[in-house]
């Protein structure tokens, strides 16, 4: 039987003057119609190269061996005419960055009808009508109006939907999605991934889903292929590869993702090599805890039928994400256990290290054993105090504007780490800007160290600002490209007027704390990897010994394995008793890793807050329940009753009543009329009057649905 797509022993060698890179070395994989195949691995592993090879768009200087057969024909040997049909109609690519991949000067409707008229031979009127239907199918509201929108007028999630509709508009046999959900929040991620499953199930397309995040794509894939340094290390059905991975790399990859159930992330040490020629040995051996001499002498072949792996020492038993594992022990800061995981001993040994007998099946994965940290003194001094803050971004002309925060009160004490979660657009970043004094509240006060931040001017304000620092989302972009690492880290000290000698000393100290080589000081940002750059960013925030550090999605731009390393660093810092930390993220799992308290924001309001265990283990507000329900997880994740919000993502008219009322399955007329205030329920607070009734309501709902 021929597959829709079958890649046979594909090798891609990129020859550049002075440096060759073996991007792919003997890759075998296939995709059938109606099947969703996940392609996972760290960046640099060759995932995008596979995607480009399928549409025969390899970079200049690429030499290929092997074959990419699409419906039997070798794509790499096609002539221009055959390629023109193959691209789009055969295989269509969804790009990672939808904003960048949409042409900025053409309406999205035109871009879609271009594809329809090219590949489905429609006339203009029919194409426009089909375009409208396609927009509707991917969940774009007001599709007729959106057809005339330009890409810059769309939000990130909307742009991604348009990108999907463009790819499906080519009516491809194979849909390839390159990291389709990077940078999207949990609810959107789920929505978008569902679109791909839908394309496979109802339209019978083959789908190749490329991602570095195993957890998020696990739920929609039939099979998974794991790439490492341009080689397939493991492939097989999702149930096998993700539940009982055999290859140590797959295990490491799985373990480096924190889980919403509370299992902390464990980092793999080292980095993926860029190979100048196809590897003669196991490329993962240098980072592998199970590696023997044989691994460094011989390259393990990919063996197995259906479920295959390239390893001499395949592991058995449940992986980091063993199903049916009992919930992890109550967390006494177990998240900080990840700290010990950097370096040679970094490989997780889920299912037992070779020295230990394997645990009984279904046993809890080896949770890092660390002594619980000393109980935090809740009475640390207050470093940040926000009282009933509102922020309105006025429109450029006239009245109106965007109400980003609507009455947020928050207190952060020294030694405390507060997580802030919510969907994109809920006001997380505005809250960060507020705490740093970058945005002034329209009403309410923000006090840093007891001083009203927005009443200060000039030198006083500048000095006060050094007490609160920000760690940015984009690690490389937030460093000046023309300044060395030493300059970047020393900058806050220069602003304080610290003399050069002392500055150098303190920079060296903080660099050591970040586990960075002192030789790094003379480098420029473009010479740093993402993980190193983020360490520099954290060092820069830390060097002035501030009272408050705000981490604004510090890991979302990084590879999963690097994420785990950075999370370790942040978790260690968050332990300092002299400082308060705020961790902003749309990824619930990372927040659960090491925060003490968590604040859930929705449309500029706090809807629930409380101790992390309380909020995640026993959520009260429907919104928190919904967020937890949609969080991707391999461990079974959130075990409570699931709550689905209505799809409506448009900002509801939140002037009166509960802002969630338009999307909430439990909303009543009272919810729509009465504003909700935070009310204590147990150890946490939630802004919903129906909290006591919700468990019963969920049971009822389950009954009626069943």
């Amino acid at each position: 039987m021929t597959h829709l797509l079958s890649i046979e022993d594909l090798s891609v060698l990129i020859r550049r003057p002075g440096r060759d890179v073996a991007a792919l070395s003997g890759v075998d994989l296939h995709v059938d119609a109606g099947e969703v195949v996940g392609l996972v691995g760290e960046s640099g592993g060759g995932k995008s190269m596979v995607a480009r090879a399928i549409v025969a768009l390899l970079p200049g200087g690429a030499r290929t061996r092997g074959a990419v057969r699409f419906e039997g024909a070798d794509v790499l040997a096609m002539d221009e005419a055959a390629l023109a049909t193959h691209r789009g109609h055969g295989a269509a690519l969804c790009f990672q960055n939808p904003r960048g991949a949409l042409s900025p000067t053409r309406t999205v409707g035109r871009q879609l009808t271009d594809r329809l008229t090219t590949h489905q031979r429609m006339d203009k009127a029919a194409a426009r009508e089909t375009a409208r239907q396609l927009f509707e199918a991917v969940g774009i509201r007001n599709p007729a109006r959106r057809l005339d929108a330009y890409p810059h007028e769309l939000s990130g999630g909307m742009a991604q939907r348009v990108m999907i509709s463009l790819a499906t508009g080519c009516a491809p046999g194979l849909l390839i999605a390159d990291e389709p959900t990077t940078g999207l929040d949990v609810t959107l991620t789920r929505e978008i991934l569902r679109q791909f499953r839908h394309a496979a199930d109802t339209d019978g397309r083959g789908v190749l889903l490329i991602s570095h995040d195993l957890a998020s794509i696990a739920s929609v894939c039939d099979r998974v292929v794991v790439l490492y340094a341009g080689t397939v290390v493991e492939s097989g059905p999702v149930a096998k590869v993700l539940r009982e991975p055999a290859h140590p790399y797959t295990r490491a990859l799985l373990a480096s993702v924190p889980d919403v159930s509370g299992r902390p992330a464990r980092a793999i040490g080292g980095a993926m090599p860029l190979l100048p020629s196809p590897p003669a040995a196991c490329p993962f051996a240098p980072r592998c805890a199970h590696a023997t001499e044989r691994c460094t002498a011989q390259r393990p072949p990919l063996t197995g039928d259906g479920w295959a792996y390239a390893c001499f020492h395949p592991q058995t038993g449940g992986g980091a994400a063993a199903p049916g594992a009992p919930p992890p022990p109550p967390r006494g800061g177990a998240g900080r256990g990840g700290v010990g995981g950097v370096g040679a001993d970094a490989l997780p040994r889920p299912g037992g290290a070779p020295a230990c007998p394997p645990p009984p099946p279904g046993a809890a994965p080896a949770a890092p054993v660390t002594a619980p940290p000393p109980q935090r003194t809740a009475a640390g001094r207050v470093v940040m105090e926000i009282e009933d803050a509102h922020v309105v971004y006025g429109s450029r002309f006239g009245s109106g504007g965007h109400h980003a925060l609507r009455g947020v009160s928050l207190e952060i004490r020294a030694g405390e780490t507060v997580g802030v979660v919510g969907e994109s657009g809920c006001g997380k970043s505005t809250l960060a800007r507020l705490m740093l004094g970058l945005t002034a509240p329209s009403s309410g006060t923000v006090r840093l160290d007891g001083i009203d931040l927005h009443a200060q001017r000039g030198r006083k304000l500048r000095r006060l600002r050094t007490r609160a620092r920000l760690v940015f989302q984009d690690p490389v972009g937030s460093l000046s490209p023309r300044r060395t690492v030493a300059d970047a880290i020393g900058e806050p000290l220069r602003a304080l007027g610290v003399p050069a000698a002392e500055r150098a000393e303190r920079v060296a100290q903080v660099l050591a704390r970040m586990n960075l080589d002192p030789a790094m000081l003379r480098r420029h940002p473009h010479e740093l990897s993402g993980g190193q750059a983020q360490r520099v960013g954290i060092a820069r925030a830390l060097v002035g010994d501030p009272d408050l550090i705000v981490f604004d999605e510090p890991t979302s731009a990084l590879d999963v394995t690097v994420q785990a390393q950075i999370l370790d660093v942040i978790a260690e810092l968050a332990g300092d008793a002299s400082r308060g930390s705020v961790f902003i993220s749309h990824d619930l799992a990372t927040v659960r890793g090491f925060c003490d308290r968590v604040v859930v924001l929705y449309l500029g309001r706090i809807v629930e807050q409380g101790p992390v265990e309380e909020v995640f283990g026993n959520p009260r507000h429907p919104y928190t329940r919904a967020l937890l329900s949609s969080a991707p997880s391999l461990d079974g994740g959130y075990t409570g009753a699931r709550v689905e919000l209505a799809k409506d993502l448009e900002e509801a008219d939140a002037a009166t009543g509960c802002p969630l009322a338009a999307r909430c399955p439990f909303a009543t007329d009272e919810c729509r009329a009465e504003p909700q205030h935070l009310t204590p329920y147990g150890a946490a607070e939630a802004a919903c009057w129906r909290v006591p009734q919700i468990p019963a309501l969920i049971r009822e709902g389950a009954h009626t649905r069943a």
């Binding site: 042409s103 053409r106 271009d114």
Partner: protein
């Protein structure tokens, strides 16, 4: 509607700009050394003659009075009387602006057309032979001085080949062209005078070619650079991987984003072209605006200098306004 409001607002802003230009030119031209009266009267004139001439042009009044008179004249459309020729500046202007404007507009349009076609063509063959030849040719054109290029074109086009008329005048007087705007080609079209049209066109060919060759290089380089940027952009790559037809790709995904940055540069080039006309008019013996403004400046002919600077300023403002509007039409991200 938003566009109209933008244009209206910008046109209102023109008033203070022009007022500033009027004041500065008025003061500057009088502060500069040199005396127009002495220049026209010659060395043998007596002081009494000079005083009489001064009184005739109103130059004996205090400066503020002269300025007020000048403003009053401007308000009624009177640019004053040329000291040099004694005729009304307004009528001289009307005679000379048309031909020069025609020359500049035709040249810049031709240069833009060549730049877009060759620039995109060149970018699609980046670093191949055709691309290199186009860029070298553009560079050569850019580095030749316009007067020299003009002379070479006359030598080749008139003396050697005889394809074009002698470089004297802008239209054959035998064609009995009725002047309307002063721009001969336009007048020939307006009056439906076929022979005059052919004659004006053949007279225009060499000067337009000269000016276009001189200004095409920066436009071409800019078009090539932005076309390359678009070709390498993810958006274009996405359109390519979706297998769109080459024609759709060129028209919908390459051309418009490429042209987005061109208007601003084109406006600047337009300004350069106005400056270049001085020499080109000289080489081709045209009685154009450039020649007239230059002579006015050399003889310190106050009203002529004032009128020409004001006109150039107005031209700049309008050209940049057009550039901004075109930019906004091309690029949906621009808010105006």
């Amino acid at each position: 509607m938003r566009l109209l409001r933008f244009v209206a607002r910008r046109l209102l802003q023109v008033v203070p700009v022009l007022l500033g230009v009027v004041v500065v030119t008025f003061v500057l031209v009088r502060v500069l050394p040199g005396d127009p009266i002495r220049t026209i009267l010659g060395p043998n004139a007596t002081d009494a003659d000079a005083a009489a001439a001064r009184a005739r042009f109103g130059l004996d009044k205090p400066m503020w009075q002269q300025f007020l008179d000048y403003l009053k004249g401007l308000a009624t459309g009177d640019f004053g009387t040329s000291i040099q020729s004694g005729t009304s500046v307004g009528s001289e202007l009307a005679l000379r602006v048309g031909p020069t404007l025609e020359l500049v507009v035709l040249s810049v349009s031709l240069a833009l057309l060549i730049a877009v076609v060759l620039g995109v063509w060149s970018a699609r063959r980046a670093d191949r032979f055709g691309d290199h030849s186009v860029r070298i040719l553009a560079l050569v054109g850019n580095s030749m001085p316009e007067f020299w290029l003009g002379l070479v074109l006359i030598l080749v086009g008139y003396s050697a080949l005889g394809w074009f008329p002698a470089p004297s005048g802008r239209v054959d007087p035998d064609t009995n062209l009725t002047p309307l705007t002063g721009a001969d080609l336009l007048d020939a079209i307006l009056t439906g005078n076929g022979p005059a049209f052919t004659s004006a066109l053949s007279h225009l060919a060499l000067p337009v070619a000269t000016l276009a060759i001189v200004v095409v290089a920066p436009l071409l380089r800019s078009v090539r650079a932005s076309a390359l940027e678009v070709l390498r952009s993810e958006a274009y790559l996405a359109a390519t991987t979706h297998g769109l037809r080459p024609r759709t790709l060129l028209r919908g995904y390459l051309l418009r984003p490429t042209l987005v940055r061109l208007p601003a540069l084109a406006a600047l080039v337009f300004g350069t072209a106005i400056g270049s006309t001085v020499l080109i008019e000289y080489v081709y013996s045209w009685q154009g605006f450039g020649q007239w403004a230059l002579r006015g400046l050399l003889y310190r002919d106050y009203p002529v200098v004032q009128a020409s600077v004001l006109l150039i300023a107005l031209g700049y403002v309008i050209v940049f306004l057009i550039a901004d509007v075109v930019h906004a039409v091309l690029d949906p991200r621009v808010r105006i």
